[in-house]
């Protein structure tokens, strides 16, 4: 099918066009980029059908692109979020330099992601993976301040470690199966575990780094928070899901379908890594003062849940993971957009400097509120469904009981940072500096509202996501996946009726709201946040009493042992030691001709001395 | 005077360096009178050379008859347990005194209080702004020429029935003819 290649071509042409349009007229760059992605998405959903396959030869290697249910499921994340993020970008990036660069990289990133999900052989998977990586690197360093550069390099190094681990695995897959097609490799079935144990491990490492799994997560906070927010939407919402995509693929193909007996240790290791990732992400999220960074750490934690879900390898667990993947894209996309809107309108997202934006940006707050509720997993929004599935999977199907506690700890502590985010930016007293702030422009609000309303709807009707997710699971080898539109049920026969809950909550809400609002309506005064009651003091105009510094200090003190494990520091030490070790080698080049001549002589002597050893 | 050996020694050493008048008041208490411009150097000398590291107190007296303020700096040596009181006088007309909150941080509090209550300026004072009083618009209240009672009557409404409260005891006496007991006389306001 040429349709697949034309799809990629749309994005490629889009990238090139935007790059050049920018140098002609900056005004239309964003719109053109958006139109290209819209076109691509429409093209994808109208012309490309499940089961399409495109086989060709490139560089002597057989390649195959295709679409199955599993990749179709992830295309929703990539293209859906991509369209919204680009619509959002138009105003977000307006007025900044190098828009062509930005949009071209953006489109290339989307191209890379689409490529990853349509690749059905390992080489094109790797190629698109790397395109995605470097294009996103260019975006990570788009913001032109100094620290970004090193953070971008950090991201790139970890990505490269992952990618090269993947490449190693691919090389050995070629050696073992003598094919590079994923489907063929799966068909050839069980492989010699004693000898090739590291193949899936390497693949998992490669995908896991992109999914920011525990010891390799250190690139994520900086990369997520320093990129332009409209890109972070995709970065955290969709690109990290590529890691999830890969992990799911690897687990199902290498373990569940062919070697279920070898799954136990992987399940345990991956589950606990995911759990620790969730905990560490949460713990670090709640001590952040920058909203963007908070969200970045929160993304790591959420990805931890998804990895835990996948690691169970059961229907409910994988369903939870797939559901959470979409849900995380929805609410974290919305939240990063919120952070971006605040950044654009106010100029900073430092929560110690911003507060009380709710009156200035009510719609943005609405989106933030809805998304945060979804993130925290509070019914009746979507997050609860994901949490429910995850717990039920762990308790009823996976027998990983203590992991439940870890996950629950993380998700309870998530309330802390959820509140911190809303409070830090939107609640509290208004800053005098933010008096002039206006609501975000409409083209930024629309995508945010779409995502916000999305997380409300799928809270009551998770079946909307279960349907494609179930198909996707069948595509990777799960049999008889059942789902219901708004009813959750586990294998012990317990059910939770979401629509009923929503209706109940809604009706109680209506009653309570009417009661509270209508009662004494005339005598209720709505006053500003400066008029607080503490000790009768009248706050001065410039004063801001909002409690922002060391917000969760008590928790931090109580949990201080947990904060001792600082992966960032460990990696930094490792880097330093490596550099010191390198220093020794570097000194071999003294810059002195005599030394070099001596090397030649010594080398000659050595070769002559050990000639029997070397040339036998 | 042999009892006050240490005290005399300190006094002598002070007199050697500065132009001061002074005497040993009592056991371990030395009182000196210094010129305004010497005060800070005397205090520094005492702090750095003689071990009077602690500033006990600074007090201010309004000598309205002499048209002067008197400032008393009381410093203490914790080792020898000697106290030195440095008296100095400044003109009421130009109430400016050297700031010593660089020598002792705690002097800042006293000086801000004097600034507000007596109107003495201390150039270079840290936090030289409203301290205890809020929005004071009259002459500084602790000066002797400030009539507090009159100010209170003028500013704050007085409840009726209390206008001549000062004479109530006398009035009672007059009305009922009873004697004011001796012990009560000293509490009488007139």
């Amino acid at each position: 099918m040429e349709m697949l290649s034309s799809l990629l071509l749309i994005f490629l042409i889009g990238a090139i066009t935007t790059y050049f349009v920018d140098s002609i007229n900056r005004k239309f760059t964003g719109i053109i980029a958006f139109l290209f992605v819209l076109l691509g998405s429409l093209f994808f959903y109208s012309n490309i059908h499940i089961g399409d396959v495109f086989v060709f030869q490139l560089g002597g290697i057989e390649m195959q692109w295709g679409i199955n249910d599993y990749s179709y499921y992830f295309s929703y994340i990539v293209l859906g979020l991509g369209v919204l993020a680009l619509l959002y970008s138009i105003k977000y990036i307006e007025g900044k330099a190098r828009q062509g660069y930005f949009y071209a990289s953006f489109l290339l990133t989307i191209l890379g992601m689409i490529g990853v999900i349509i690749s059905q052989d390992f080489v094109s998977l790797f190629i698109f993976w790397e395109i995605m990586t470097w294009a996103s690197f260019l975006l990570v360093i788009y913001n032109a301040y100094y620290k970004v550069k090193t953070k971008g390099i950090k991201y790139m190094i970890f990505s490269a470690i992952g990618a090269y681990a993947m490449l190693t695995a691919i090389v050995f897959i070629k050696e073992h199966y003598n094919t590079l097609l994923i489907g063929e490799a799966i068909e050839r079935g069980a492989f010699n575990f004693q000898q090739y144990r590291y193949i899936p491990i390497f693949l998992l490492l490669g995908f896991g780094i992109k999914a920011a799994v525990m010891p390799f997560h250190v690139w994520a906070p900086a990369a997520y928070s320093k990129s332009p927010m409209s890109f972070t939407t995709i970065f955290s919402g969709a690109m990290s899901k590529m890691g999830i995509f890969g992990i799911g693929l690897v687990l199902s193909t290498f373990y569940l379908q062919h070697n279920p007996e070898n799954f136990y240790w992987v399940k345990l290791a991956l589950g606990w890594l995911g759990g620790i990732t969730a905990v560490m992400g949460t713990l670090y999220a709640l001590i952040q003062v920058d909203a963007k960074k908070l969200l970045a750490y929160s993304s790591i934690a959420q990805l931890g849940y998804i990895v835990v879900g996948l690691s169970t390898g059961t229907k409910l667990g994988v369903m939870a993971a797939l559901y959470l993947a979409v849900l995380h894209a929805i609410f974290k996309g919305a939240l990063f957009m919120v952070a971006g809107a605040v950044e654009r309108q106010v100029g900073t997202t430092d929560m110690t400097k911003v507060s009380g934006l709710i009156r200035r940006m009510p719609w943005t707050f609405f989106v933030a509120l809805v998304s945060i509720i979804a993130l925290a997993g509070i019914p009746p929004l979507g997050g609860f469904v994901g949490k429910w599935l995850l717990y039920e999977a762990l308790i009823t199907e996976s027998n990983n009981y203590f992991l439940v506690i870890v996950i629950f700890f993380s998700s309870t502590a998530a309330f802390l940072y959820s509140y911190r985010f809303l409070f830090g930016l939107f609640l509290g007293q208004e800053e005098k500096e933010t008096e002039h702030v206006k609501e975000a422009p409409i083209s930024m609000l629309i995508p945010m509202l779409i995502l916000g309303i999305g997380s409300i709807i799928i809270g009551s009707f998770p079946g909307l996501i279960f349907e494609p997710a179930a198909k996707a699971m069948q595509a990777i080898g799960f049999k008889d996946v059942t789902w219901q539109m708004s009813l959750l049920s586990n294998i012990w026969g317990n059910t939770t009726h979401l629509f009923l809950i929503s209706m109940l909550i809604f009706s109680v809400f209506i009653i309570a709201f009417l009661f509270l609002t209508l009662k004494g309506l005339k005598k209720t005064r709505y006053v500003g946040t400066k008029e607080i009651s503490t000790s009768g003091e009248l706050p001065k105009e410039w004063e801001n009493f909002t409690f922002q510094h060391n917000f969760f200090k008590p928790f931090e003190r109580a949990a201080s042992p947990l904060y001792h494990l600082n992966m960032n520091r460990i990696w930094k030490d490792l880097g330093k030691n490596t550099e010191a070790f390198f220093g020794f080698f570097r000194k071999l080049y003294t810059g002195n001709g005599q030394t070099y001549a001596l090397y030649v002589i010594i080398f000659l002597v050595l070769l002559l001395l050990f000639k029997d050893v070397i040339f036998s | 005077m042999s009892n006050f050996k240490k005290e005399t020694k300190i006094l002598k050493s002070l007199k050697d360096v500065f132009e001061i008048k002074g005497s040993v008041k009592s056991d371990k208490r030395i009182s000196i009178k210094a010129d305004k411009k010497n005060v800070s150097s005397i205090l520094l000398f005492l702090k750095n050379q003689k071990g009077f590291i602690h500033l006990n107190h600074i007090s201010c007296v309004d000598w309205i008859e002499q048209n002067e303020f008197e400032l008393v700096y009381i410093v203490w040596n914790p080792k020898t347990r000697l106290t030195v009181m440095v008296h100095t006088r400044i003109k009421r007309d130009e109430p400016v005194m050297e700031n010593i909150d660089t020598i002792w941080d705690q002097a800042n509090t006293y000086e801000r209080e004097f600034r507000e209550m007596f109107g003495i300026e201390f150039p270079g004072l840290i936090g030289a702004k409203e301290f205890i009083l809020e929005d004071w618009d009259n002459i500084p209240p602790m000066r002797k020429d400030f009539n507090s009672q009159q100010y209170a009557i003028d500013t704050f409404s007085t409840r009726p029935g209390r206008e001549n409260a000062q004479n109530v005891r006398e009035a009672i006496q007059k009305r009922s003819g009873e004697e004011i007991p001796d012990f009560a006389k000293k509490y009488s306001r007139d």
């Binding site: 490139l58 360093i141 390099i153 090389v171 003294t590 030649v600 | -």
Partner: protein
Amino acid sequence: MVITPVHYIVVPLLAAFAIPLLTKIYKDAARLIPGIVLFYNIIVSFNLLKYVNEHGIISETIAGWQAPWGINLVITPFTGFLASMVSVLGFIIWLYGYRFKRTLKGGLVKYYEILQMMMIAGSIGVIITGDLFNMFVFIEIVGISAYSLTAFYRGRDGAEASFKYLLIGSFASTFLLLGILIIYTQTGTLNMAQIAERMHEVPQHMKIIALIFFLISLGIEAEMFPLNGWAPDAYSQAPSPTSATFAAVVSIAGVYALIRVLFTLFDVPVNNYLMIMGFVTMLVAEIAAISQKDLKRMLAYSSIGQVGLVLIAFGIGSKLAVFGALFLMLNHAVIKSLLFMTGSYFIYNTDNKKLKSLNGIHKRLPLVSFFFSLGALAIVGFPPFAGFWSKFYILIAAGDARHVYLIVGVLGVTIIELTYYLRIVGRIYFAKEEEEPASHKPSINAIIAMSALALFILVIGVYPDLIMQPLNQAADALLNKTHYINQILSLN
């Protein structure tokens, strides 16, 4: 056969002598003639390559002197491929350097052009020659031009670098001559095919001693660790087009000589040696590169690292590995030329070789910055650029040979490489710096040259099949030793 390989030798030599004369007539002749010569070389190369790929090996004997003493030129698909590559790159580098230092006095430009041309011609000579002694001669031609060009700026640093190069280079010549001597005494011939044929008669200890001399001398030319101390200094002190030539042409010739000697002449197993030394070369070079503060020096170390990878690939020795190695040589030549070209524009504009001065330079040189970033991404091996494929094939080959540690090592070193290249990309684009107009905008010929290379990188990256066929044949030709011997012996 339309053109004979002799043209390779004759035309540049004649031109070299003609240039000083023609300069008297037409002032720009010194700059034009090398271009014409190199372009002619390209035509010759493609013709020959096409012929060779269709009809088999060409062996041309000059002046009727037969082996063992004669000068004979051999074009196989392998050498033909390398010769074409070197010619094309030589021409592009000439194009790039067409306006190079035209403010210099005429004489200097003249010498520069002659030396440059001689260096390229010499490299082609190394590649196409069929006997050992001529190889030595051509290596000397290359070497002498290179020494002179290194010292071209006549500064203290240039002189020092040149002297180092000369010092180490003279070691190379000496040992090469010694090696040739031993071989000649043992086999009685200098023709490589004949030597290869008679090699099994040579006693083992003599063979190995000769091999060691070759390894040392050609290792110096091929920049193998620890014999490559000259390279960074020479690269960084030479004029930028010359640096590009070093990377794209001279080092290729050096590697060719080493590989030819090891693969064709000797039947001693050197695979492990090549892999280990290649890996050490790569590792040390990249480690040295990461701590450099000087752009050209860093690129020089990077070149050494790439050569190390080429040696590893040849060390693996399978068809796919040699294919990958040739592909990598091609990519390396192209990309490194591009990097040196763009890097030299950075240096012109900052008057400073330090990396620090690159901060935010993209505002002044957008196109050049773009090319540099492209080259950086390509040389690290990011798809969809050309660099990816060569590395990929080499890794696949290593995987087939089950060299686990080699794969992990190479990829680990690649991470180091990636770190410093992307650090520069970061600098170019993203550190803030006050804006000033570019003092040296790239001239149109330079843009054409760089665009051609960039286009190559992109096109090959997206569609590698374009050069799969010649590469395949070249790899076959190198590996099929008996065919080579038989063909040449029968032709002579």
